[in-house]
């Protein structure tokens, strides 16, 4: 770790629209590794940042199918194979009554799998983050919008990144030490 190692270059904006514009400009200028921090979800930001697809939806799908299929099997096995009981003359395999529990555990399985996959893939929870070293960054949870160009990859040049961000007219522009 070099003493002057950079996490990235951070820019602060007053409005969501300014941030969206900056994100689009960064994408157009060829910056691929850009992050944004906002106090609330901003419509269209994920498209503007061109965030690459990840596997969280797939994990949710697999978790949901596993939960649903497992629950249906559990009900079928207990009602038909393990402990058949005549209830009101209904067939042992009464599928309508299996649907509610199957549905609920499908949701539960999908939600748990999605949360687990999200935590595994983004490395949370962690105790600290380089961005917390920037005093202004507290405002990201209140009324300011931040764009961070990450200092990663062999082609990153801090001077050029700072010069580019300066053209976006940010409220402030600062280095984030790694």
């Amino acid at each position: 770790m070099k003493p002057d190692a950079l996490y990235g270059v951070l820019a602060e904006f007053r409005t969501a629209d300014a941030l969206l514009e900056a994100a689009r400009a960064a994408k157009a200028a060829g910056y691929r590794d850009v992050e944004a921090y906002t106090p609330f979800p901003v419509e269209g930001l994920d498209q503007a940042l061109a965030i690459p697809p990840n596997r969280v939806p797939l994990a949710a799908l697999v978790g949901g199918i596993a939960g649903g299929a497992g629950t249906y099997f559990l009900q079928w096995y207990s009602a038909v194979i393990d402990y058949p009981v005549n209830i009101g003359g209904r067939p042992l395999h009464s599928w309508p009554s299996y649907i509610p529990a199957t549905f609920e555990i499908t949701i539960l399985g999908a939600a748990l799998a999605a949360v687990a996959a999200m935590l595994i893939m983004n490395g949370l929870p962690r105790l600290t983050h380089p961005l917390f070293a920037v005093p202004e960054f507290d405002l990201a949870t209140r009324n300011r919008f931040f764009l961070c160009v990450r200092a990663r990859g062999p082609r990153f040049d801090a001077e050029r990144a700072r010069a580019f961000i300066a053209t976006l007219d940010p409220l402030c522009l600062c280095d984030v030490p790694a």
Partner: protein, 289 residues
């Protein structure tokens, strides 16, 4: 007399497109967002048909006894027998009262539709909230009066909401078909999500209604489902479960499919066709029974 039920079903389908389009407009006025902009014009176009559709209900009102068993005094004993409150039903289903109510629903909808096309109310949040409330109440009552009372013995408390959700889905699908040529990719992803919400809500309500009646297994409650799931109509029921729930669900789980206008447009066409099947499935077996 097979023509009248077909007329009623087709009219109810068209009315549902118009009302569902209005409901989506009001929801967009309340929530805002880019998703609604490209479909606003088609939704308004669908809503403008309301006055003509309202006039087209007159033949049904003239031919009441041919459609509704309760409008025929000789049939009274057959349908007032084993219901919880025959007194209330006998009063509620008087032809005069029924016609007066129908005219009130239609007049309210025409007025709401007309106000929605006016500049002053086109984007008004307050008006949209009030209009949605009026639509929820009158739409529920209209579904009960015009469709559910085809089989007066039967009632379901979920029926009105189920019909409203189907109308919302149909109105949105029609607007997507009309607007498919316009709009950025981003918007189609959102519209796809909205279609998915409608499909899931419709399936949830439809299944809940079936499950409660299936579990209770009471003669006058299952009377509505027996012709629908134990005759040739069962094939239609399976087609509805597949095409109105499973296929849209599986297609819309994929983000790529949602954001491809061509895929979403194809899905919207198929949902429109299946909504028509759904309306027929709600109307025809009741008339034959």
């Amino acid at each position: 007399m097979k023509l009248l039920p077909a007329y009623l079903a087709l009219w109810w389908f068209c009315m549902g497109l118009s009302l569902g389009a209005l409901a989506n407009l009001w929801v967009h006025n309340l929530t805002g967002g880019a998703w609604g902009e490209p479909i606003r014009e088609p939704l308004l176009r669908l809503a403008r048909a309301l006055p003509w559709l309202a006039l087209l209900f007159i033949p049904v009102l003239i031919a009441l006894p041919a459609l509704y068993p309760w409008a025929d005094p000789a049939e009274h004993a057959r349908w007032s027998g084993e219901v919880a409150r025959p007194g209330f039903k006998s009063v509620w289903l008087q032809p005069g009262f029924f016609i007066a109510r129908s005219v009130v629903y239609l007049a309210l909808w025409v007025v709401l539709g007309w106000l929605t096309t006016r500049q002053a109310y086109m984007r008004s949040q307050r008006f949209s909230a009030a209009a949605l409330l009026v639509y929820a109440v009158t739409g529920t009552l209209a579904a009960i009066d015009w469709v559910m009372s085809l089989m007066p013995l039967w009632y379901s408390t979920a029926f009105g909401l189920l019909v409203l959700v189907g109308q919302g889905l149909a109105g949105l699908s029609a607007a997507i078909v009309l607007a498919a040529a316009r709009g950025p990719r981003l918007v189609f992803g959102d519209l796809g999500n909205l279609v998915l919400v409608y499909v899931l809500t419709w399936a949830y309500l439809a299944f809940t209604q079936y499950l409660v009646i299936w579990a209770g297994n009471l003669p006058h409650e299952i009377a509505w489902y027996v012709p629908r799931v134990q005759t040739g109509w069962a094939a239609v029921a399976v087609a509805l479960i597949a095409g109105h729930f499973f296929v849209p669900l599986l297609v819309l789980l994929s983000r790529d499919a949602k954001e491809a206008p061509r895929v979403l447009r194809g899905l919207a066409w198929s949902l429109l066709a299946l909504h028509l099947v759904d309306v027929c499935w709600l109307v025809f077996p009741s008339v034959a029974a």
